[in-house]
C-alpha cells in the first residue's frame, strides 16, 4: 500500500530510487568491489572481511539484490515522508531531496573507538583551554607557542569576547570533529568544527531506520546505543544556566524554515522537549532575554544557537541581519543568558590554527596528541608557500575560514586553469589558505546501482562538553557517493551511512 504512493512523486523526480540493473545476487555483487590502495573498512583483502564485518558479510551473501533494493526504497520513502530533506537551492521550485543515505553500516571496533574517544576528549579539553586563554590572558601567545598575528588576523576571532567570563569556562558545548583513516588504518583529525556543527539528526534518524531494516544483524553485532544523545545534550545545556536559575528555560535558536538544516533544528528541539525559537520570537529588556509566548513574555536562560556569530545581534555584529535579536550580546555579557557554543569559538577551528593544535595540546596538557593531525602547510609561510605553489597538483588547498567543502582545490582532480586561479588567490591572500597532501580516505562498501562498491568515507563523531565530556558511540559517516570522489560534504553530493560502534 505504501508503494502505491510512489506514483506521483516519481514524476516530480524528487525520490531517489535505483535504476534497473541486471539481475545479480548480492554475493556476486562483491565481484564489482575494486581496491584502490586506500584502507578498506570491510576487507583485509579480496574475499577476506575483517572480523567486525563478518556478520554483515554473511548477511549480505544471503540477501538477494531485490530485497536490498526494497529495503533501500523503504528507507528512502520513510525519510521522504518524514520530511528529512534538504532544499536544493537554485532551482525555482525549491525541489526537496532526501539526504542520500546508504544502507550498509560502517562498523568500528571497541578498541578503535576507545582511541577515538580518548583522543577527542583530549583534543576538545585543550581547545577549550586555548579559547579561554585567548580571550583572557593570551599566555600561549606571550609564550610564543602560537603567533599572535595568526590569531588576530582570523576573521572568527571576536575581540568583543575579551574578558567575558563564560559559564563554567565551557566555550564549546557541542563539537563535530571530522576524522579520516589513512591508508595504514590510523584515524587522524582532518578538521575541527567548533562553531555550529550539524548532521547529528542524520546520525539519530538513520539509526532508527537501520534498526528497522536489519534488526537481527543489529542484535547479533551488539551495537552500542546512541539514542541518549538528546538527554546528554540537554543536560549539558542546562549546566550552563546563569546562577540562581534552578529550572532554566533552554531554547534552540534557528535561522528559520528556509535554512538547510531546519529539519535538524526541529528534530533536536522535539527530542529535547525545548522550544524552537527564531530571532523574531526573542525580546531583550534590561539585559534579560524573553521569548514572546501567548502567556506573555517568558524568560530564556540558555540558548542553543544554530546561527553563526555574525548574525546573532545586529547591534554588535552584522547590522542587516534579521535572524538574531537586538541586545542579545549585552544580555550575554551581563551573564543573564548563556550561549552554546560561546561566541568566537571559530578562531579555534580556523584551518591555519589547526596546524598548531598538536602544540596547543602539548602546551596546556603536557601530553602528546592521541589523534594526529594531517600534515598542514601554511601559505603565510614563504618557504612552504613556494613549495606548494610549484606542486599544486599534489595538494589539497583549503580556505581557512570556510566549511562545507567550499573554497577548496583538490590538486590531483583539478585542471590547469583551476590551479592557476588558486595560485593567484593564494599569492593575493596567503593567510587565507593552507595546503595538505592529498590523502586517500578509507573506503567502505556501499550499495550503489544494485551492486556493492567501495566509496570513500570519513567519520564525524559528536562531542558534548557538559559536566564532563561525553561522546556518544557513533557519529555520522559521510560518504562520497560519486565513484572516486574524495569530497564527502552533503553540499557537494555526499551522503551518509549509519556508524556502528561495537560492544567489547
Amino acid at each position: 500500500m505504501r508503494y502505491a504512493l510512489l506514483g506521483p512523486q516519481k514524476r516530480n523526480a524528487t525520490m531517489i530510487t535505483d535504476t534497473d540493473a541486471p539481475e545479480r545476487s548480492a554475493g556476486e555483487a562483491f565481484r564489482q568491489y575494486e581496491f584502490n590502495g586506500s584502507y578498506d573498512e570491510m576487507f583485509r583483502s579480496a574475499d577476506l572481511p575483517r572480523k567486525q564485518y563478518r556478520q554483515l558479510y554473511t548477511q549480505l551473501l544471503s540477501l538477494d539484490r531485490d530485497e536490498l533494493r526494497r529495503s533501500k526504497q523503504e528507507a528512502d520513502q520513510s525519510f521522504f515522508n518524514q520530511g528529512i530533506t534538504f532544499t536544493v537551492y537554485g532551482s525555482d521550485k525549491g525541489t526537496e531531496r532526501i539526504f542520500p543515505h546508504d544502507l550498509l553500516p560502517r562498523i568500528i571496533t571497541a578498541g578503535e573507538w576507545e582511541t577515538i574517544e580518548r583522543g577527542l576528549a583530549q583534543r576538545i579539553t585543550a581547545l577549550n583551554l586555548f579559547l579561554k586563554d585567548l580571550y583572557h590572558d593570551s599566555r600561549i601567545i606571550e609564550d610564543g607557542v602560537v603567533p599572535g598575528k595568526i590569531i588576530y588576523t582570523c576573521k572568527h576571532y571576536r575581540r568583543e569576547m575579551r574578558g567575558i567570563r563564560v559559564p563554567r569556562d565551557v566555550y564549546v558545548t557541542v563539537v563535530g570533529t571530522d576524522l579520516i583513516r589513512t591508508p595504514e588504518g590510523r584515524f587522524v583529525v582532518l578538521e575541527d568544527n567548533l562553531r555550529v556543527p550539524s548532521g547529528v539528526s542524520y546520525m539519530l534518524t538513520s539509526r532508527r531506520v537501520m534498526k528497522h531494516i536489519f534488526p537481527t544483524l543489529f542484535r547479533k553485532c551488539r551495537v552500542r546505543p546512541i539514542e541518549q544523545y538528546s538527554q546528554v545534550l540537554l543536560s549539558a545545556l542546562k549546566s550552563l544556566a546563569p546562577e540562581g536559575r534552578s529550572e532554566p528555560t533552554v531554547v534552540l535558536l534557528t535561522p528559520g524554515s528556509y535554512n538547510s538544516a531546519y529539519f535538524e533544528h526541529t528534530y533536536l528541539a522535539r527530542q529535547m522537549g525545548i522550544e524552537l525559537v527564531e530571532g523574531r520570537d526573542l525580546v531583550v529588556h534590561d539585559n534579560i532575554v524573553y521569548m514572546r509566548t501567548t502567556f506573555g513574555l517568558q524568560r530564556v536562560d540558555v540558548i542553543y544557537r544554530r546561527i553563526d556569530d555574525d548574525y546573532l545581534d545586529p547591534l554588535v555584529f552584522e547590522g542587516h541581519s534579521a535572524l538574531g535579536a537586538v541586545g542579545l550580546f549585552n544580555a550575554y555579557r551581563a551573564g543573564n543568558v548563556a550561549f552554546a557554543n560561546a561566541l568566537g569559538t571559530g578562531v579555534a577551528d580556523d584551518k591555519a590554527i589547526y596546524a598548531y593544535v598538536p602544540k596547543i595540546i602539548k602546551y596546556y596538557l603536557n601530553e602528546d596528541p592521541i589523534l594526529d593531525n594531517v600534515e598542514t602547510l601554511l601559505m603565510s609561510d614563504a618557504a612552504q608557500r613556494d613549495h606548494v605553489c610549484q606542486r599544486l597538483d599534489q595538494y589539497v588547498v583549503k580556505a581557512v575560514g570556510e566549511s562545507g567543502g567550499y573554497g577548496m582545490l583538490i590538486g590531483p582532480h583539478s585542471t590547469e586553469q583551476q590551479r592557476s586561479e588558486f595560485r593567484s588567490r593564494i599569492l593575493a591572500e596567503p593567510r587565507n589558505y593552507i595546503a595538505q597532501p592529498t590523502i586517500n580516505l578509507s573506503t567502505a562498501p556501499c550499495f550503489v546501482n544494485g551492486t556493492i562498491e567501495p566509496r570513500h568515507v570519513d567519520l564525524r563523531p559528536y562531542v558534548v562538553y557538559g559536566d564532563n565530556i561525553t561522546i556518544v558511540p557513533g557519529g555520522l559517516t559521510r560518504v562520497a557517493l560519486r565513484k572516486g570522489s574524495l569530497v564527502v560534504n552533503s553540499s557537494q553530493g555526499g551522503g551518509s551511512k549509519d556508524t556502528w560502534v561495537l560492544q567489547n
Binding site: Y262, Y267, E278, R280, D281, R292, T294, F295
Partner: protein, 311 residues
Amino acid sequence: MLSRVADSLYWMSRYFERADNASRVVEATYGLILNPAKFSTEERWFRAVSSLARGATSADVDPQRALFLLVADPEGAFSIVKCISGARENARQVREEISSEMWEHLNRLFHEVTGLELHVDDDAGQMRVVNLVREGAYRFHGITDTTINHGEGWHFIQLGKYIERACNLSILLDAYFSVETHADDLDWVGLLSSCAAFEAYCKVCTAELKPERIADFILLQPEFPYSVRYALDRMHHALTSISNRSLSRRTGKIERLIGRLRSAVTYVQIGEVIRGDLHMYLAAIIEQCRDLHAAVHEVYIEYPIEVAFES
C-alpha cells in the same frame, strides 16, 4: 506556547479548512453543471468562483479556466493546491509542535497534489485533487484529534478551523441566496453537498428542499458540524480554553466579540433573518469574524512589549 507557533498552527488549520471547503464546493459545482437548468454553466461556476476566490472577476469564469483556477492553478492565490501548500508550509515551521503523524499525512498529501502538475484541460486530474483533499481532510481531522495533546496548540488549531468555516459557510450561503429565485432543487442539493450536509439535512428535515429550511440548517443548526452556529460555538469554546490558560490579559475584547457573534445566531429565528436583509446579516457575521481574528492576533500574537511588562 510561542506566539509565532500559535500563529502558525492557526494558519495551518485555516489553510487546510479552506482547501477542504473549496474541494466540496468544486465537487458539488462540477456535479451540477452536468445537468441543464435555468442557470447556465457559467453562472454556476461564477457562483463557486465568487464564493472561493475573493476578488475574482467574471473574466475568470470560462468553465475550464474556473476549474483550473479553483483547483490547481499554481499562480492563483486561491487554488486548492495553493491552500494545501500554505497549510504544509505553516506546519513545516512548527514541525516540533505537531505530531509526526500529522506532519507525515500533510506532507504526503502535499506531494501528491503538487506532484500531479496539472494542465488547464485535465478535468480528471483536477477532480483527482479534489478527491484527495476531501478524503485527506477527514483523515487530517481524525489524526489531529487523536495524536496531540488537547492543550493550547490544539485550541488554536480548532480556532483556525472554525473561524475559516464560519466565514466560508456565510460566503457560500450569500452566493446561493443572492440568486435564490432562479435556483431549482438541484442547486439546493448542490448547496447542501457543498457543506457536506445533504444526508444530515434529510435526516433532520426530510428530503423536502425548502430554501428557508436549508438556510436554517446551515446557519442555525447547533448540532451539525458544518453549520455557522456550530462553528461559532466551537470558536467560543476554543477561545475560552485559551484565555483560561493564559492568565488572561486584555481578553475582555475577545470575549465581547465572540459573545455578540454567538448571540447573533443563537437568539434568532430563521424567519426574521430571511425577511430582513440576509445579505447584510451574513456580511455582519463575516465582518465580526475578521474583528475577532484581529483581536486574537493583537492579544496573543503581536502584542506590544510595554503591555507585557505592565501586567
